[in-house]
Each structure stands twice: as C-alpha cells, then as structure tokens.
C-alpha cells in the first residue's frame, strides 16, 4: 500500500495469460498525478491488455493494480472504475455511431449514472455550456447535430477525445489517438494532450514516433508483456535492446 502512495496509477508485478500465452509478464508501471506517460512497443507487447486490466475488462492472474494510491482496481468492474475517474479512448475509434455528436458528449458528461437519474435527466444551462465548450475544443461545433457515423476517421478520434474530456477523469488512457489524422491534426492533438496533462494523469499508447516526440514526456517501451526500457524518448530509442526488438535497424 505504502509503495502506492502519491501515485495516480500503480501496477506491480502484473501477469495475465490467455490459454497459456503470457500477455503480461510481471509488469510494473507507475504514473504520478498530473504526469503524462507515453507507452511504445511492438504489436503483441501487451499494451491493450494492460489497458484492459486497468479498466477492469480483464482480471490479472497476479499482481497489484492501485488507482490514486488507495483503490484496488482488480476488485472493480468497468463501470465502477470509469466512475472513479479513469477514462479510456480506444485504439479503434469507438463512438456511438447511430447517435449525434451532441448526444455522444451528453452521455459522456460527468453526471450521476444511476438509472432513474439518467431517465429523468435534463440538461441544465451549465451542462449545455460545458458541452459547447468541449465541441469548440475538439472542433466539432458545426457538426453537433450530425450522426457520429458520418464523421471522418480523424473527427471520430476527436469526438472520442471530447467524450474523454466530458467524463472529466483523473486518469486518461489514450490508445493510438492520432491514427488516421493529418499532420496538422496530430500536432494539435499533442498540444491538447499536453494541456490536459497539466491537471491530470495521462497514459498515451502510440506508434507514431514524431507524435511521441512532440509529447516530450517520459516513455516506457513494452515488449512481451514487461517493461523493456524506460526514460526519455531519446534514451529509450538509443537502448540497443529496444532497437533490436522494436525499432529495428
């Protein structure tokens, strides 16, 4: 417990196996409050599985997972974890396609999640202002009444980031946020994430090295379910094992 003190996310010795395949092998990672961590690594390194474990989708076979220094995440389910203040953006943009941009954000907005509270919810002026604010931030203000399905791939990414903002989480897990974005959008996303990281903890998984460079933050390289190297991007990409196993020659 004490080791977890003053951390936002604390993973220690986490292992999980699927049908004998070790997806995570004694993985330990720490994220501090208001800190951004970039995670890189080859396919199958366990990045998504790690996120699944943090968000309660998968239970680890062994190891500790603590949030905010005190909450044991291995005992909670997805909804409870989300309500603690952990937001997740998926690798493949996952928005509710048959609903409008506005509705997507309204659902994500940090409000009581109870059945009857939701049933009788009606948006207050404050909520509307907040959503409009987010719409501006993610540059979807003019598409608020369009169906999410009609957005381009990059716009869906933005919408999902907007939903993450609406959730107002303490910890954001962002899986490949800039796939399918133009260079300008990528730069913009990096700027936005850095801004967010001023007040919250952010974990970014990304393959795009220039984007990771833009983030200018601590980098962890995963391979075969455990940490291969840790440090700044330059340190990590200079590491010979990383070069051999991930970056290639």
């Amino acid at each position: 417990m004490n080791k977890a003190q003053d951390t936002m996310l604390y993973l220690d010795g986490v292992s999980v196996a699927f049908d004998g395949f070790k997806a995570l092998n004694n993985l330990s990672i720490i994220v501090r409050p208001a800190e951004m961590l970039a995670i890189i690594g080859p396919n199958g390194a366990g990045k998504t599985t790690m996120m699944d474990i943090i968000t309660g989708k998968t239970r680890p076979d062994a190891g500790d997972v603590y949030f905010d220094g005190r909450t044991d995440l291995t005992r909670l389910d997805e909804a409870a974890i989300a309500n603690l203040g952990i937001g997740r953006k998926f690798q493949k943009p996952t928005v509710f396609e048959s609903q409008t941009v506005w509705d997507n954000l309204e659902m994500a907005l940090k409000k009581p999640r109870g059945i009857f509270r939701t049933l009788f919810y009606s948006a207050s002026g404050e909520d509307i202002a907040r959503i409009e604010d987010i719409l501006d931030t993610v540059r979807l203000a003019d598409r608020r009444d369009d169906l999410a399905a009609d957005l381009s791939h990059g716009q869906k990414q933005w919408l999902e980031i907007g939903m993450l903002l609406a959730q107002d989480p303490k910890l954001l897990l962002v899986d490949e946020p800039v796939a399918g974005m133009t260079d300008a959008e990528t730069v913009e996303t990096a700027r936005l994430l850095k801004e967010i990281a001023e007040t919250r903890s952010v974990v970014v998984v990304e393959h795009d090295m220039s984007f990771v460079r833009d983030l200018a933050t601590r980098v962890v390289c995963l391979a075969e379910g455990s940490v291969l190297a840790e440090g700044t991007l330059d340190q990590v990409s200079a590491n010979p094992i990383v070069i051999e196993r991930y970056l290639g020659r």
Binding site: F18, D19, F21, T48, T49, K57
Partner: protein, 536 residues
C-alpha cells in the same frame, strides 16, 4: 348382425356340436378339426386348439404354426382351410400343394392374443421332440413362457434324450420354471428349481420367483426370498448402467440433431431455424427410398438406409447450398436477422412437404438388422438405438476429419475466423460459405435418416428437435464441436437420470432450468473460446 358372419357361426356351431356328439372317436380326426377352424368363432377356436394339442400328434404343428403366423386361410369358394405361403396354397395336414393363391378368394382365420398364447404353448408341446435342435430350442422357450402340468412329463422325457447343451439348458430352465409355477410339485423339487431359475431365467427370473413366492410354504419362501434379494441387488447395478445407456442413446440422438447446427450456427453464426426442416427432409428422403424399394425391389429393403444416407446427404446439402446462395449470403454479419429469414424458410419447407406428402405420418420401417434388442450381460439394448449411437459417433468423427484434415476444412475455418483475410489470401469465400452451409445441412439430412428410425416422419419432425439442438450447441459452447459432443451426452444422461425421479415432463423442465443456470456460470458455454478475439 351381418349375414355372412351369422351364417358362418351357425355352420361352425353345427360342426362343433357334431364333433362333440361323435365323442373320442372324432377327437382324433385331425383334418376334421382343422377344417372346423374355418367356421369357428374366436371362443370355439380356443377349444379346437386345445383338442388339437391334446392329440399330441406333431402333424398338427404346421397348421397351428400357420394359425399363429396368420398364414391359415379359408378358401371362400369351397370352404376349405388352407395354409398360404409365398402365394401358394397347401393342405394344412398333408402339406400338399393345392395351387396358386392369387386367384382364390381367401379370407384369413384371425386369432386374438389369448389364443396366440395357447397356440404357442401347444406348439411347444408338439415340437419338443423334433429332430431340429433350433426347433427344440424354441419349443423349450415357449414351454418356459407357458408352464403347464402336461409339459412336465414331456420335458422329463425330452431331457433324457437331449444331447445338445444349449437346448438342454433351455429345457432345464423350462423345467424349473414349470416346477415352480405349478402348485402340486414337491417342495424338494421346488427348492432345487429356485437356483436354476435364478441363474438361467435372465431378466424374468425375479418375475417367476415372485409369482412362486405367493403360494410358497414358509420353508421354501426363505429360499426364494434370498434368491430374489441377490437378484435385485444385481439388478440395481444393472439398472443404473441401463440408465447410463439410455442417456447415451438420447445423447446420441441429440448429438445427431445438433451437429449440423454446430456447423451452420456454431461455425458460421447463422441462427438457422430451418435446421429442423433439413432433418425432416432427410427423413422424407428415407421414406421415398423405402417406398420405391417396397414397390420395386422388396428384397433390397435391408439396404434401404445405406441407399438413403448418401441421397439424403446430397439432397439436403444441395438445398442448403441453394438457401445459402439465395438468402443467407445477403445476411452475413447480421446474425439475428438470419433467424427471421430462416424461420420463414422453415415455414415454407414445412408447408411444401405437407403439400407434397400430405400432413400425416409416412411409413418408414426398421430394416431387420435394426429391429429388436439384444442382451449385453444385464443390459437390454435395442438394435436401432445401438446403431444410432454408432452412427452418431461415426458422423462426429467424419466431421472432425473433414474440418481438421482436409483443405476444405482449413478454408472453412479460415473464412469463419477472418473472412477478409481469407479472401485476401485467394480463398473463394462465397464458394466456401456455400460448401460450409451445404455440409451443415447435409449432416442434418443424415440425422434425418437416423431419426426416421425412431420417430414420426411427418412435416413437424424438425420442429421437435430445433429447440433441443440449439440448447445443445449453446450449452456446449458455440463454435466448438467437442462442446457439442459433450453437451449432447451430458444433457442426455442428465435427462435420463432425472426422468425416473421427476417424471418425463418435470425432468425436461429441470434440464432447461439447469441450462439457464449453467449459462449464468459460463456465459459462453462449456467449451468457451478465450482471449481477446472473442470479445470483439
């Protein structure tokens, strides 16, 4: 009453009265007695059979056998009683051929159950000394089934002369049974008979001993009771094993019904409500094959199933391919909508069959090798169930081979796991889809051939199995053939163990509730696939 019948009655009464008046001299008049059967009522027939048996003359045996078999006729033209076999008439006493039966106006002399019993007993007495050991054996068995005082002396006489060990054993058993069931045999004899019966009388031993117990004096009763106790203990063990067998047999039926669905639903993800109708079409194929055989080549009847199997597979596979090309292929990725379309298909197929073959049951017979039962130690196993279990295993094994060892199987697995990738690798996915659906449907057709041997062949046949099939596939785990196998056998055996305690209806309800509870524990069935791929 009806004139013809009353006339006959009068004649018969006259004949019988004459026979009685004439006394013992006429009693030996075998041809006369046999002739009088032609006009006799059921009640009078009983008397005549008794008289014939009392002659002790083996010459009456053929006539009695013919009577039991329904081969004894009256020629309405001249009132003569004749035996008819293979379309020719024979004299009942002398066995001389009289002529072809085709153009004679014959009417059968019919008997009822109690008469059939009397005749069997009479034949037993008459043929016990036959030269043919198998005739003697059946005579001994018939005596065992119909114990009477006269038999005792006959058996003693026959035992003295008997050389064949099997026949001897049967005679000894018959003797012991007779001793036990008669009132006036000595206690010593009876006591000696008890172990013989307990040892040799098989499943009927307890019956025989029980009925002997009623009239037994105390000294004997103790013997009988201990023999029964021993037998019952043995029987309890066999009863449990028998139950397992029943369960395996029910499981194999479920497996057959479900295994085609394990392909179309489990592997392809099509909620195939028309699966039952494929089974039904397989059964109707059997009917058509048997019907053609019956009309044209009755001697081939025992091979009818061998002919029906490939035909049923082909026909249902072709229909399945047509369905896949015509309907299902537009619906991939919309699994729940396949339910609606295939439900519509099932209505159409049912009604089509109803229009062509009529709404009533059609006759599908068991070939001789699938009729009756055999005893395997203490188990009574019916041949049709036995072969169906074997067949189910064979189909399952063949399917495993097709899926795991052939290139078609490899392509099937590739397409169902990742359609786009498979197509990129040059696999003709539409062809593979059609073949997979055809395979699943064809196997349903094979199941139909097997089910036609135990169930109705009617347009509703498939409806009775569709729900059970889905339960089996889901219980076992969608997409896993071994799951289907284990699921079917588990449900079969569980059902059969519940049935004696809860009754057939409640047993089935309990099974359904158990499935619902089980799915709560394992939301993806018994053999669920694990890992990330499943979740998406």
């Amino acid at each position: 009453m009806r004139p013809t019948r009353s006339l006959r009655l009068i004649f018969a009464c006259l004949g019988l009265a004459l026979a009685l008046l004439a006394g013992p001299a006429r009693a030996q008049d075998i041809p006369g007695l046999i002739q009088s059967m032609g006009e006799a009522s059921l009640r009078e027939l009983g008397g005549i059979v008794e008289e014939l048996a009392a002659t002790g003359d083996s010459a009456v045996a053929p006539a009695l056998e013919a009577l039991a078999e329904g081969d004894l006729y009256v020629n309405e033209a001249d009132g003569r009683v004749v035996i008819v076999t293979r379309n020719r008439m024979y004299d009942p006493v002398t066995q001389e051929e009289i002529g072809p039966a085709a153009d004679a106006d014959l009417s059968r002399i019919r008997i009822n159950n109690s008469l059939r019993r009397d005749v069997a007993a009479a034949i037993g007495g008459l043929t016990l000394m036959s030269d043919n050991p198998s005739v003697r054996l059946s005579a001994a068995r018939s005596m065992r089934a119909n114990p009477s005082e006269e038999n005792l002396a006959l058996l003693d006489e026959a035992l003295a002369a008997e050389t064949d060990a099997t026949v001897r054993g049967a005679m000894e058993t018959a003797h012991a049974v007779t001793v036990l069931s008669l009132a006036d045999t000595s206690i010593e004899d009876k006591r000696a008979a008890v172990p013989v019966v307990a040892q040799n009388a098989g499943r009927e031993a307890i019956t025989i001993l029980n009925s002997a117990l009623g009239s037994a004096p105390d000294a004997l009763a103790a013997d009988i009771r201990s023999a029964i106790a021993g037998l019952e203990q043995e029987r309890a063990i066999w009863a449990a094993l028998q139950n397992v067998w029943f369960g395996v047999s029910l499981g194999s039926v479920l497996l057959l019904a479900a295994i085609g669905l394990a392909i179309t639903f489990g592997v392809m993800g099509v909620i195939n409500m028309a699966h039952g109708e494929m089974v039904m079409l397989g059964a109707y194929t059997t009917f058509v094959v048997q019907d053609v055989i019956r009309r044209n080549a009755p001697e081939l009847f025992d091979y009818s199933l061998a002919i029906a199997l490939p035909l049923a597979f082909l026909i249902t596979a072709l229909i399945g391919i047509a369905i896949e090309r015509g309907v299902i292929r537009w619906l991939y990725g919309r699994a729940l909508e396949t339910l609606l379309a295939t439900w519509g298909l099932s209505l159409i197929l049912q009604q089509t069959v109803r229009s062509i073959f009529g709404p009533t049951n059609r006759q599908v017979g068991n070939p001789s090798w699938m009729s009756g039962s055999f005893e395997f130690y203490g188990l009574a196993i019916t041949w049709n169930r036995f072969w169906i279990v074997i067949f189910a295993i064979a189909v399952f094994a063949a399917l495993l081979v097709v899926l795991n060892r052939t290139s078609l199987g490899l392509q099937m697995r590739a397409v169902t796991q990742n359609r786009r990738m498979a197509s990129a690798m040059g696999i003709r996915t539409p062809f593979v889809d059609a073949m997979t659906f055809g395979l699943g449907s064809g196997i349903a057709g094979l199941a139909g051939v097997a089910l036609s041997q135990i169930d109705n062949v009617s347009p509703n046949l498939g409806q009775g199995y569709i729900i059970d099939s889905f339960m089996v596939v889901v219980f076992g785990g969608v997409g896993n053939l071994w799951g289907t196998l284990v699921g079917a056998l588990t449900l079969g055996v569980a059902n059969k163990f519940l049935e004696p305690y809860a009754g057939a209806v409640l047993g089935k309800i309990l099974i359904l509730v158990l499935i619902i509870l089980f799915i709560q524990r394992r939301p993806r069935g018994l053999f669920a696939l694990k890992g990330r791929a499943v979740e998406s």
